[in-house]
């Protein structure tokens, strides 16, 4: 690989801002957040300083993504302050996708209006389910009616690009009730739907319950069924299944920000536990609000670790990320980046995969079939 510089399709970088606060922790969640909201003001100060740290490394962004944690715990003014600082140090493309994740229980029509007025143009609502029993099982603070109301308020506030998150493969759920949830979602006509299979990460409360035998996960066969039914139902409703867990109503409604992760496009992650990627380097911040604030107050980068990716590692990532998306792996680009022809290199195994309808070749792309997408990670190990 020349100069170790990865060539990528789109050039503009993405900005991710992690808001590490949640009023309570959901049972399955392994994302970094704390329950105390007291440090929020200090955190915002620190964050603004961190924004400046990178103004030499990154110049411009065309996506901004407030993730968490629960970004909707911040007041609109606080979000505005952050955005202003970002605007001061970087060029933000006028057509930028600016997303915030919100929790249905925390929001109102006024809140959405305020978000809209400060330039946020995309919402990702953490609905998870339209079934109160399941919401309770997951440890969510909101109810199904909160979710429905927030969707309505968001529309009324003028949001034309709304995504919702759903979880399947949960105790108390069966294929039927999941399909009902999906139908409810479809009726709301969100622009984007993410459907994640419940996965239990170690150190989460649900995981411990699972280990102790307190809950069951669906069998492999059932999990596959959830996956394929979801895909079929949403595709029939007009959504594009463009990534393993993601569906968009139109090509241009795909999550621009998340696509950067999958395409090795540079991104800057600010806030505790946030990850950044540039060329062949990936680094991430400490998962601790206090040390994050302390480091920054001492003009230190709050970085926990960084890694320089070897060409082999980048190659593996290209495979597993590419095979998660319906677009697939750009073979020309692959050859340019890694000086090797993927189809030649792995000819016999790729032929077998094609024969078994797991991947297909379309133009200059090697892409997973729908069945292939379901086993994307294994495909990457060819």
């Amino acid at each position: 690989m020349k100069d170790n510089l990865l060539k990528t399709p789109s050039s503009q970088s993405g900005l991710y801002i992690h808001i590490p606060f949640c009023k309570s922790k959901c049972g399955y969640c392994s994302f970094y957040s704390i329950k105390s909201l007291n440090p929020i003001p200090d955190f915002i100060d620190a964050l603004q300083k961190e924004v400046k740290f990178y103004s030499k490394t990154f110049k411009s962004f065309d996506t901004v993504y407030f993730g968490g944690g629960t970004p909707s715990l911040l007041r609109p003014q606080q979000l505005e302050t952050i955005l202003k600082t970002v605007n001061k140090y970087y060029k933000i493309d006028p057509h930028s996708e600016i997303t915030i994740e919100v929790n249905p229980g925390d929001v109102s029509l006024e809140y959405f209006k305020a978000l809209h007025s400060i330039g946020i143009n995309r919402l990702n609502i953490g609905v998870q389910s339209f079934d109160d029993q399941i919401l309770k099982f997951l440890g969510r603070r909101h109810s199904a009616s909160d979710a429905l109301a927030s969707m309505k308020d968001a529309r009324n506030a003028g949001f034309a690009n709304i995504g919702i998150d759903l979880i399947y493969g949960v105790q108390h759920q069966n294929i039927k009730s999941w399909e009902k949830t999906l139908q409810t979602a479809i009726n709301l006509k969100p622009e984007h739907i993410s459907c994640y299979q419940l996965s239990l990460a170690p150190k989460t409360p649900l995981y411990s319950t699972y280990e102790a035998g307190g809950i069951k996960l669906p069998s492999n066969k059932m999990q596959a069924k959830y996956f394929f039914n979801t895909s079929e139902i949403l595709e029939n409703a007009g959504y594009l299944h463009y990534e393993v867990s993601n569906f968009a109503r139109k090509e241009y409604l795909k999550s621009k920000h998340n696509m950067k992760y999958w395409n090795h496009v540079p991104y800057l992650g600010l806030g505790p536990a946030a990850h950044s990627f540039l060329n062949n380097k990936r680094w991430w911040n400490k998962s601790a609000v206090a040390s994050y604030i302390k480091d920054i107050s001492q003009d230190k980068m709050p970085v926990e670790e960084q890694e320089l990716l070897t060409p082999a590692q980048l190659q593996l990532e290209t495979l597993f990320l590419g095979l998660r998306t319906s677009t697939g792996i750009d073979l020309k680009l692959y050859e340019k980046n890694y000086c090797t022809d993927l189809l030649e290199d792995k000819k016999s195994i790729i032929d077998t995969l094609i024969k078994n309808h797991l991947v297909e070749i379309g133009g200059d792309f090697l892409r997973p079939t729908q069945t292939g997408m379901a086993v994307a990670d294994s495909l990457a190990l060819i």
Binding site: F31, S245, S276, E307, S348, T352, N356, S378
Partner: protein, 598 residues
């Protein structure tokens, strides 16, 4: 030289050789109590883990005898398992006497006899020792009777001992001094030293283990290997204490080591004679009998890039295992490798494990085979130990396979099940003897190939570990043989081919397919496994596709975590061999030899 004694401890497996060596070492004070551990001479991890001796080990013990004189007792502890008998026979070439141990409870066993004969061949003084007299089940009178009738030794010469409790140790040491003659030979004569073992040390290169019969060797000498005439300058000589201990010289009668900067590992051959370049001896010492391997299998590197590495490692390994033989081989499915001969299945198992541990190799072993004999229509006789060289069936006039006489000792209550097992294994001409109350000795003639195929494990399990099993190769007998191939997704995996008895082919094929089904991990697509004779499919099984992946959220650009996970899985896959598009783990190749019953 008058005060040197060279001797080996020999016995059937587990009769207590290494434990007796422990007591002798402790009695003579070579090792302080703090550094002591049981079976201290079993220095390889693999010996300690399995509780058996695999290599002969030499150690020099200083001993102040009752006659008031100081002696050097060169002890060699030997393995008892039949697969390592070549170690024993080479050790004996350095000795003037042996301690022949007999377990007081088990009595004389197959390897007691076999090792006794080896000692007699070398004209050695034999001191019979009855060990484990502390056991409640010890039956000393019976053992004395066996020493007399079965071994043909004078029972009055025996010593009773408990190696475990340290009883009889001094008496043994005195007997060594009194009864075993000192080495003959003359330090003034030209050097003649016999290489009986060697090993490779990454710092010092090849280290030669030898017994000096005539003359003297010291550092600075130019030595010559008589086999190929190459010469080297001696850097260091010494004795084996618990570690290598440098000495000024080794003289006639001594057992020790020579380091001579030998770069070409192949120059050192066990059994060769070392002499001095400027004053050579007239003729080499008698070497060793050639080894006759009975089990054959091919070794391939998992990654074909590692071929050269494997080749270098085998050469070094061979230095330390003279009973291992190998030559180049290649397989369509597995690429370049080596065809190897082993003295038995345990030997094969040990070689594989030592290669992986000591040389950090990842290898695949093909399905083991015995050596078959074919008479072709043109009356040519060929031996085939590699299914890849199976002759054209149309040309075969007669096929024969090696038979063994299996000798088994077992409690009477298992007799029925063992006989059933032996018959299932095509055993014939059974002989049965009651050797004592409730104990029987059972003997069968069986095809060696049947023993390789999962006999030993099943024998152990049906006798619940109370049976012992031993065998001798007796002859070749006519047999209807066929070549059975295994196809994975339609592709023949030649390393899985087996030569089998016609009547067994179908069940063997089914078994292999089933076993492979369990061993080959599910992959992304369906895999068909078939057993075939020529173009006729005789067995099949399928592995359905693997269908599970997590569609969990890939959080905030944390791609690294997921990549690390995949990297781990990928590393796991490295230990598998890609055949076409299917990854086959190492274990699959040996698994086809196991039956479903265990």
């Amino acid at each position: 030289m008058e005060n040197i004694r060279n001797f080996s401890i020999i016995a059937h497996i587990d009769h207590g050789k290494s434990t007796l060596a422990d007591r002798l070492i402790q009695f003579t004070g070579v090792c302080n109590e703090r550094n002591f551990q049981d079976q201290i001479l079993d220095s390889m991890d693999i010996e300690r883990e399995r509780g058996i001796t695999i290599k002969s080990n030499a150690i020099s013990l200083p001993y102040h005898a009752h006659d008031g004189k100081d002696y050097i007792l060169n002890l060699i502890d030997t393995p008892g398992h039949v697969d390592f008998s070549y170690e024993v026979s080479r050790s004996l070439a350095s000795c003037e006497g042996v301690l022949l141990l007999v377990d007081a409870a088990q009595g004389v066993q197959a390897q007691t006899l076999a090792n006794l004969y080896l000692a007699l061949e070398h004209n050695l003084e034999i001191i019979p020792i009855i060990n484990k007299i502390d056991l409640p089940s010890a039956d000393i009178d019976r053992v004395l009777e066996e020493i007399d009738s079965e071994l043909g030794l004078d029972p009055d010469t025996h010593i009773k001992c408990s190696a475990k409790e340290g009883v009889g140790i001094e008496e043994i040491l005195e007997a060594i001094v009194e009864r075993i003659p000192p080495p003959k030979g003359d330090a003034e004569n030209p050097l003649a030293a016999l290489i009986f073992d060697a090993h490779y040390d990454s710092f010092r290169g090849t280290i030669i283990h030898c017994r000096v019969f005539e003359g003297i060797v010291k550092s600075g000498d130019i030595i010559k290997f008589m086999y190929n005439g190459t010469t080297y300058k001696v850097e260091e000589v010494g004795h084996f204490l618990l570690t290598r201990t440098k000495r000024d010289k080794l003289s006639a009668g001594d057992v020790g080591y020579i380091i001579a900067g030998v770069k070409t590992v192949a120059d050192v051959r066990t059994g060769d004679t070392i002499t001095l370049q400027d004053r050579p001896c007239s003729q080499p010492l008698p070497g060793f009998k050639e080894v006759k391997p009975v089990v054959f299998a091919s070794i391939y590197p998992i990654a074909s890039d590692d071929y050269q590495d494997l080749a270098d490692s085998l050469e070094k390994y061979k230095l330390n295992d003279a009973s291992f033989i190998y030559e180049k081989d290649s397989s369509v499915a597995l690429g370049q490798g080596f065809r190897c001969g082993f003295l038995g299945l345990l030997h094969l198992d040990i070689v594989q494990e030592r290669l992986e541990r000591e040389y950090d190799l990842s290898i695949i072993l093909s399905v083991p085979s015995v050596r078959y004999r074919f008479t072709l229509k043109d009356n040519k006789v060929i031996y085939v130990d590699n299914p890849a060289h199976y002759p054209d069936p149309a040309e075969i006039a007669k096929g024969e396979e090696p038979y063994i006489r299996a000798a088994m000792m077992l409690p009477e209550r298992y007799l029925g099940t063992v006989m059933k097992l032996c018959m299932e294994k095509r055993g014939v001409n059974s002989i049965m003897n009651y050797t004592g109350p409730g104990r029987v000795e059972l003997s069968y003639e069986m095809p060696l190939a049947e023993v390789i195929f999962d006999f030993y494990d099943r024998f152990k399990s049906v006798t619940q570990g109370y049976g012992s099993f031993d065998y001798d190769i007796i002859d070749y007998r006519e047999s209807t043989l066929v070549l059975m191939d295994i196809l994975v997704n339609g592709e023949k995996v030649d390393a899985l081919s087996q030569i089998v008895h016609r009547d067994r082919a179908r069940s063997r094929g089914l078994n292999a397919c089933d076993r492979l089904k369990d061993e080959i991990p599910r992959q992304m697509f369906k895999i068909a496994i078939q057993g075939a004779i020529g173009s006729e499919i005789i067995a099949r099984s399928t592995i359905s596709a693997f269908r599970k992946d997590v569609t969990a959220k890939c959080y905030g650009g944390d791609i690294s975590r997921k990549r690390k996970l995949l990297e781990k899985q990928k590393a796991g896959k490295k230990r598998m061999k890609m055949i076409g598009s299917v990854s086959i783990p190492q274990s699959a190749f040996l698994a086809v030899l196991k039956s479903d019953t265990d």
